[in-house]
Amino acid sequence: MSNRSRKNTAVTLTMLMLGMLLTLLLAAPAGADVTRGECVGQAEFPSKTNDNVLSADRSRSVVFLVPKEETVAYAGALSEDAQPFDGPVAFEGGMTVQFPLTSWQFATWGGESTQVSADGVYSYSIPSFVPAGTGEFEVTGWHKQGDIDCEVVVTVALDGKPGPAALVAAAGTVVFGAGVLAAGSKKGVKT
């Protein structure tokens, strides 16, 4: 096999590998909703002009775009026909963002109450250095009160466009991809 044909074969195989990898990534299964219990709830994002209500029964495959800062009006209950407890019952809950090998709980609540529902407002502001318009985030909300255990999973994404961080990442990919190809050059021989 001549040197030129070996070079072409290597480049072709590398491109093929990357293409197959990309195909696998794009073909990731959407998955069904994973929820526990019969909790109901919704969060309203007033600054959005359309699709501004995120409900607990929303399918995970439908991405909800969230602004980088907002004051959310929320309301939730253990079930649609839940009745108040006779006495105070301890409760705890939280919301987490799922990462590849771990998760980050960014909001928690807890205490004792006879109530089975709650509503209010929650303000958040995502730092400006966090790039918008990125891939999806899997956000899980959970709540435990007495014997009742609820979990709701929604898929959200930051509204916006990829900023300079995306360009830097793309440039790094190209540079280090070239480094991988350079690792395939023979020792002591200039390519």
């Binding site: 290597a10 990898l21 990462f99 961080a165 990442a169 990919t173 991988v180």
Partner: protein
């Protein structure tokens, strides 16, 4: 390995890492995707494969079988008799010739001593004849 495995491991890891981040930032994969940690491992594997395969660059020129060191003969110099062109100048050739005369005893052996002795004998005979004639 014929290539550069260390370079392959380092750049492969970073390539996979940056590829995963790029795919996430452009919305191709979600943040919870396992590909974000699988890709750097695949990158390391790709770098090692490239280093082992080493498809780029020319192969080193094969050493001609004639080019052998003549250390066994005590010379300590390379006797290159292949087709490799060697540019030499007149000064180099003279220096080589002088070194050969000084170092190589066989060079002195090639010079016959008998002609000198004969020449001396002839000179002596001529001198004797001249004196006899006188």
């Amino acid at each position: 390995m014929k290539g550069r495995p260390i370079l392959g491991v380092i750049t492969g890891f970073l390539f996979g890492l940056f590829l995963g981040v790029t795919l996430f930032l452009y919305g191709v994969i979600p943040l919870s995707s396992d590909m974000l940690w699988i890709l750097p491992l695949l990158g390391i594997l790709l770098g090692l494969i490239m280093a082992a395969w080493a498809p780029f660059g020319r192969s080193a020129e094969p050493v001609p079988p004639q080019a052998t060191f003549t250390a066994a003969s005590g010379g300590g110099t390379a006797d290159i008799t292949g087709d490799i062109p060697v540019e030499t100048t007149d000064e180099d050739e003279e220096a080589t010739a002088e070194a050969t005369d000084e170092d190589d005893p066989s060079a002195d052996d090639e010079i016959p001593e008998e002609p000198d002795e004969k020449a001396d004998e002839e000179t002596d005979e001529e001198t004797a004849e001249e004196s006899t004639t006188e």
